[in-house]
């Protein structure tokens, strides 16, 4: 997700310019992050409401810069390792953060975004 990509998108969609700019700033501060959790993003990006952020993320997905993937929460409520292109690909059991396996049927599935470029 380079600066140019954000700039082009903001020019094409001026109504989302503010949210895209905020996202770009956040991205610069988190250049090593490859998965965007909308919940974390909404908490960390100030001055834009959640709907505007969600629309900006959708634009990035449509532009091919992000891909929607799915993660699973562990019994303690944090995100387990691994992400899945489709919720049907989630295996019946996964390890939590301390290598204890849990049944994913009992867990929440969380849509997140993976950086494509």
């Amino acid at each position: 997700m380079s600066q140019i990509n954000f700039e082009d998108l903001a020019n094409e969609h001026p109504e989302h310019k503010r949210a895209l700019r905020k996202l770009e700033e956040w991205r610069r501060r988190h250049s090593d992050v490859h998965i965007i959790d909308p919940k974390t993003l909404a908490r960390e990006v100030q001055g834009v409401d959640a709907t505007a952020l969600a629309l900006a993320l959708t634009l990035l997905v449509k532009a091919g810069l992000l891909r929607r993937v799915y993660k699973v929460t562990t019994p303690s409520g944090v995100l387990a390792d691994g992400e899945f292109d489709d919720p049907t690909q989630i295996p019946p059991r996964l390890p939590d953060r301390f290598e204890h396996y849990f049944d994913t049927a009992e867990s929440d599935v969380v849509p997140v975004f993976r950086m494509v470029a």
Partner: protein, 314 residues
């Protein structure tokens, strides 16, 4: 086995074990050479067309494909058991030549020259590789392949009539990779692939000891106690902030009977972005609580040897 069969097996392993990114990185080393194409629509095409063509045209050597497999098999997604030799004498005897001689007798050089051997022995275990590390010549790696069947629950459950519950299990072949690494001067690692069952992991570890037994035995080693090392990592965190961060930690205050677990919500998070968490954890450990678990994110080094973040659960 013919060279052709080895190549076929190796390409299949690359497809199963390596990421598209790793395969493309290998192809990119020969970018611009005839028959080398980097982009592909699918991973199958990347291996079956791009890599196969490059190998057949000798643009990429078979040895480089084996190196790619080695890297994928021997790093990550493993349980690692650490051991220290009980005496310096034992440690000093663990040279590459001595181990090879004890495992394969006086003709060991002939055996080792045939490695790596990627084809499995049906329903059995076999030595598949033994080599020293060119950068650290006193270190060595022994690899064992196993071929076994596992019974796996598919997750499908159905109510089939009153008081009858049907659960589906399937039997699948499993390629088992067991690795012993000697890190001179005094650390032995037994690496077995990750598995849900603790018993299976321990069975594989015992199998690896058995395969090693002509050369070394468990009685010569003691388990390396990681608790103190983990506590030191946490307490020295600020001096080493360019080297690692933490994502999860478990501490036990045995005296008070308190088990405390700290986890970041995001799977790429850093526990110590929260000052309160840092203080709490360090207070526990300064008060001699036990560190029972730690997820460490090792940050990329500046020497290029370690280009990406790496995560370890201890």
């Amino acid at each position: 086995m013919s060279h052709y069969e080895e190549v076929e097996d190796a390409l299949l392993l690359v497809k199963n074990l390596c990421t598209a990114e790793q395969i493309q990185a290998l192809l990119r080393k020969r970018k611009g050479i005839e028959h080398v194409r980097i982009s592909a629509e699918t991973k199958d095409d990347l291996v079956d067309r791009n890599l196969r063509t490059a190998v057949e045209a000798n643009a990429i050597q078979v040895g480089e494909v084996f190196d790619l497999i080695r890297y994928a098999e021997e790093n990550g997604n493993q349980h690692i058991f650490y051991y220290k030799p009980k005496t310096k004498g034992i440690a000093d005897a663990l040279t590459y030549d001595t181990i090879a001689q004890r495992l394969w007798g006086t003709n060991w050089e002939k055996t080792v020259s045939d490695f790596p051997s990627v084809r499995l022995k049906p329903s059995d275990y076999k030595y598949s590789d033994f080599r020293s590390n060119s950068k650290k010549p006193k270190d060595w790696i022994l690899k064992v392949y196993g071929d076994t069947l596992i019974t796996r629950f598919t997750g499908k459950t159905e109510q089939r009539g009153p008081n009858v519950i049907w659960r589906e299990y399937v039997q699948e072949p499993l390629r088992v990779v067991l690795v012993a690494r000697w890190n001179s001067p005094d650390l032995l690692e037994l690496r077995v692939q990750r598995n849900e069952s603790r018993k299976t992991v321990e069975r594989w570890r015992d199998k690896l000891w058995e395969m090693l037994s002509p050369a070394l035995v468990p009685a010569e080693f003691k388990e390396w106690e990681l608790g103190k090392t983990m506590a030191r990592l946490v307490l020295d965190d600020q001096q080493n902030s360019a080297v690692y961060t933490f994502r999860d930690a478990q501490v036990i205050d045995a005296e008070a009977g308190v088990y405390a677990t700290f986890e970041t919500h995001a799977d790429q998070g850093n526990l110590f972005t929260s000052i309160e968490t840092r203080k709490s954890l360090q207070n526990y450990l300064a008060a001699k609580s036990d560190c029972a678990g730690l997820t460490v994110t090792w940050l990329p080094g500046s020497n290029g040897e370690f280009p990406k973040r790496k995560r370890g659960h201890y």
